[in-house]
Symmetry: C2
């Protein structure tokens, strides 16, 4: 992570960690969706056995997420965590934080210093600073302390549910810290609002070159977080998993029922790994232009679709055959 | 538009413009969702009568969207268009463009010069430039021509389906043109991918202070475009319509079934106009902090929710009563 490595996509299980089978099953779903790192909460000592078995069975590196009780972090480091995530501000006395640092050092694993607007250290509560400055100052102070203990295997996050505060905090940290940054907008909300807040916040940061790993937070099935994370990276051409679909918004010019066609093509493309570019266009204004620019495309006319392949029109098919004609052309690309 | 006016949200009808009743019904749905400007396609002369009746009946300013045939633009200006949108590159000979400019001048309405990667003027097809530069240069050349005809009531757009090309093109235009910019990522795709591409692209531009009006393009019900547009503006605290919902992603610490609670609260908040901030939080790590920061909030424990009002805990309710308790508190805020 960091140092020019690709921006990785992570998520967090929401199963009961004591139920290692359910947790591993969820991690398998994460993995299939493209998740590369998984975080698992250890809310209490009861969860440690489950956590250990999850670490043993997971195809992905497992990060232990711990709040309040430093002993859980120490134990997680001993039981196979690939990384610890703590918010030092809620761990308590300095010697407890230091004990966690020591345990991570012995295990040879990094620590993410995860500062969060909802659990900012007490000392910042009453300062008359913008939230972003509080978040950045808190994270920087923890880094300084970790360095004073000779520990530099650090990843830093500083999340707020405010997109602007999140952007400002990470811009500050990118300017002052040499460490990898885990970016995310916290408590972003439901699938609809949370997807948009995350895409705006992470999009602005990634477009600035900020961020080494990302987590989208949604109040939803966490598999959705992985899909949204990848789509944000794809939007900026940073990384892409599988095909790209370009499709038009339809307007009074469109003479086929385009929305179900585009939705069905998107659904079928999910099972294809090749990075093919597909254009589904409803009319002749931008249709042929976009379709030509794609590997495979269709520009619709009245009840028909003109199929393009690598810029060349190949055939005209009735509306009902557009999806299958596109998929046939895509399959034939694979064979080449 | 422009000159410090708030960034406006627009969309485009996808009904048959000849059917003025269906088009006006769709505009009513746009209006209810917060749309502020509506664009209507005039694909052929048959649509002019319907367009005229739409202009007469619409509660929103109506922009005529015209390609290829300059006579349709001239006629639309005479029949009540609040603005013309053309891509001068596909209107043909200069004297045809000039006739449109003259008609807009006589009607006292602006023209949007809408350059689009899918319908770029022929002269740019073979240049070895990045797409963004082609888009910006094409838009700038049209502006120069319009100015040479004494016409400066211009809005400019330069859209690509590539988010990066769109961002780069608008950054160039923001540096060179004095005109209002209509921003959007074109042919962004289905609801899922298109929402994310639009949020990333428009988010980056808006965070830079670029953009006077926006249109989200989705292959979906265009009402969804309006909702996404508002959510992008809200994400950056630029403008907000109604309430804000903060909710957590849930994790192994969450002891209530939070996703349906948050979804239900989001659904009920849609009918509320007051800009109340509501937090739905699943545990005690960040829950009380976020809930305190909201007007109304809940931090869930095991099968219960602690309701907060303006930072103060007010009562503990069983899981099944969380939604109604939150809505009761929100309603009582309105009464104050």
């Amino acid at each position: 992570m960091g140092g020019g490595a690709p921006v990785s996509v992570q998520s967090m299980t929401n199963t009961d960690t004591r139920d290692h089978a359910a947790t591993l099953a969820q991690i398998d779903r994460f993995t299939a969706a493209g998740c590369e790192i998984v975080r698992v909460a250890i809310p209490h000592a009861d969860a440690l056995d489950g956590f250990e078995r999850v670490c043993q069975g997971s195809p992905l590196p497992v990060i232990a997420d711990i709040h309040f009780d430093h002993r859980l972090a120490i134990e997680a480091a001993r039981r196979g965590a690939a990384k610890l995530r703590i918010n030092p501000g809620n761990i308590g006395a300095t010697q407890r934080v230091d004990a966690v640092i020591e345990a991570a050092g012995e295990a040879g694993i990094p620590i993410r210093i995860g500062v969060n607007a909802g659990s900012l250290a007490e000392e910042f509560h009453d300062r008359d600073w913008p939230l972003a400055q509080k978040l950045a100052a808190s994270a920087e102070a923890f880094c300084t302390h970790f360095e004073s203990r000779g520990f530099k295997d650090i990843v830093v996050s500083a999340k707020a549910s405010s997109v602007n505060a999140t952007i400002d905090a990470y811009r500050m940290l990118a300017g002052t810290l040499p460490y990898a940054l885990h970016i995310g907008v916290t408590e972003a909300g439901t699938t609809f609002a949370g997807t948009i807040k995350s895409a705006v916040g992470l999009g602005v940061l990634l477009a600035d070159g900020i961020g080494d790993t990302l987590r989208v937070s949604l109040t939803a099935d966490p598999v959705e977080e992985v899909r949204v994370g990848w789509e944000i990276l794809a939007a900026l051409d940073i990384r892409r998993r599988g095909p790209e679909l370009v499709s038009c918004p339809t307007c009074g010019r469109c003479q086929v029922d385009l929305v179900p066609i585009a939705e069905e093509v998107e659904r079928r493309l999910r099972s294809i790994d090749t990075p093919v570019k597909v254009a589904v266009m409803g009319c002749i204004v931008n249709g042929p232009g976009e379709a030509r620019d794609a590997d495979i495309g269709v520009a619709a006319g009245k009840g028909v679709g003109l199929i393009f392949r690598r810029g060349e029109p190949v055939k005209k098919v009735p509306e009902g055959d557009i999806v299958s004609a596109l998929m046939d052309e895509i399959a034939s690309l694979d064979v080449e």
